[in-house]
Symmetry: C2
Subunit: 125 residues, 2 copies
């Protein structure tokens, strides 16, 4: 049976409070039980980085690891930096199936949620 790992990637920022929504997403993903292991990683400013988080999932015995960019727009980071970083993990662990998912903002559910929040910004928490 496949042991699925989820590698959630956010941009990162200098302000520690910046990470709160992403930690909330990671907590919900963990609570869903959809994966054997879940890690949250950052491209810049915050730890762990993608390499360290990927190693943790590999060490946890995951044989399929899906990288989910928690980015709304797909610019240079998602199109260039992320594939390069993922390729480095793939070369270190060729037996693992590394899968790059699209940027979260390309998903219709995220677009709909953002539109709903703009129209009725009431459910913050």
């Amino acid at each position: 049976m496949t042991r699925r790992g989820l590698l959630l990637l956010a941009h990162g920022a200098r302000d520690p409070a910046w990470a709160l929504p992403f930690e909330a997403v990671a907590a919900q993903v963990r609570a869903s039980g959809a994966a054997a292991a879940v890690e949250l990683a950052f491209l810049e400013f915050m730890a762990p980085d993608l390499a360290a988080a990927g190693e943790r999932l590999a060490a946890a015995g995951c044989d399929r690891i899906e990288l989910v960019p928690l980015f709304l727009g797909a610019g240079g980071h998602v199109r260039k930096d992320v594939p390069r970083l993922l390729e480095a993990l793939r070369q270190r662990h060729p037996a693992i199936d590394w899968v790059l998912q699209p940027a979260a903002g390309e998903d219709a559910r995220v677009v709909a949620a953002l539109a709903a929040v703009a129209v009725a910004p009431t459910a913050h928490g």
Copy 2:
């Protein structure tokens, strides 16, 4: 009766494709009919900027304009740059009620959508 304007703000990037999810959000907000006028603005790299988009909403006769940061994390941009830019618009148009909404990523609906996408990345489009 209040004439509501919605000022959606995204970060912006060099790659034109980056803006696609935000344009989709703006289209959904316009289609909802929730506001008399809707503008999408960018902090960097893309046009219009916040000042230009705010002027358009003012010229459209909006008397309450809500700024919705389409940001997941609230770092320096949302905490410092955006209030400063909004204050400049407020001083130019003091009769308009300018309201700064929280970053979209602080909304439970957006967190839930991101978690759903991470768990089941199937509904892209």
